[in-house]
Symmetry: C2
């Protein structure tokens, strides 16, 4: 029905007047990134909240041993930034990098603060979005503790089949908290059964 995929998405949470939509659109920017480009780099302050129109990103953390740990993947209709860095405007713990050419809508930090003043309803929108994200994050912690890797992989596959198809397996292994070798073994076991 709706023109803009972002307005479409928003309409699941709140209803904006045409005037509010205009204000909102005036304060956001659409931007294209190429595969492998960084949206956020560890150590930089994350200045934007990013809504993905198309494409795919990985959010990851490089530990003291130089190892990469995937925090999340993001695809169409989801968000992608270092929220901790964004809300506190302090250096990012995470990197966000494009796994595909990616088109996204960006909220600049200052613009978003202004938007909250102009359209208080947006507080509700983001409250609801973050609530959901938080709940998913808690459930992931529990899964990591209470299920063996094979089960976690099956759930990942069932929950995000699109991501599983688009993303290399060594990154999925990292997301699941296991090595690529062990994921390979698990997949073998699942097939040969």
């Amino acid at each position: 029905m709706n023109k803009n995929p972002f307005l479409e998405y928003i309409s699941k949470f709140i209803t904006l007047t045409p005037k509010e939509e205009t204000i909102l659109l005036s304060k956001i920017v659409q931007r294209n990134y190429l595969k492998d480009q960084y949206i956020v780099q560890q150590g930089d302050v994350c200045k934007t909240a990013n809504f993905i129109i198309s494409g795919c990103t990985k959010t990851y953390y490089i530990d003291l041993e130089g190892q990469e740990h995937i925090v999340m993947f993001s695809i169409e209709d989801w968000w992608s930034s270092d929220l901790g860095s964004f809300i506190t405007q302090t250096p990012a713990d995470f990197n966000v990098q494009c796994l595909e050419n990616t088109k996204l809508i960006q909220f600049n930090y200052e613009n978003l603060e202004e938007l909250y003043k102009e359209i208080p309803k947006l507080e509700r929108l983001f409250r609801k979005i973050v609530e959901r994200a938080y709940v998913a994050s808690q459930k992931r912690i529990i899964r990591n503790f209470s299920l063996p890797a094979k089960e976690r992989y099956k759930i990942f596959n069932a929950t995000y089949p699109k991501i599983n198809q688009r993303v290399p397996q060594y990154l999925i292994a990292s997301y699941l908290g296991i090595t690529k070798e062990f994921l390979s073994k698990i997949k073998n076991q699942l097939v040969s059964k």
Copy 2:
């Protein structure tokens, strides 16, 4: 300065007029639970958001093998409920049980929805609270993957010294995702070094 510890807490995020404070206070209930009492039970719909005035709770999940997994501990000035159940009003995945006699402020689901209408500023309050909780949750996932148990325990101890003193070690082990026996070994190693 402030009379009520909950209003005190809120004032860190938003400023309410005296009138708004009155409305808010009229829609919340203070309640006392005894040690071991349940605030939420797995399978029930969580009807309240609970802010702890004093005391301590554990939020946990019983897995298919009957094993308990600690999701979080909550003490004074923090929240304690199954947020997933609360926001969707569907059966809870988690139990919330008091580890001490606990005094808390309860927001009933319907009351909170009304409050959001009457005091839209509260959307901002809860947006900010959940943002912080989400960020902490993401960081916990990363720590669980990138650090060995001994480091996780040290960080837990440094971050929540109060909780570490008040809560039995087998529950802390569960929170860290390890067995009580292994935590005992770790503590021994830390002392004897």
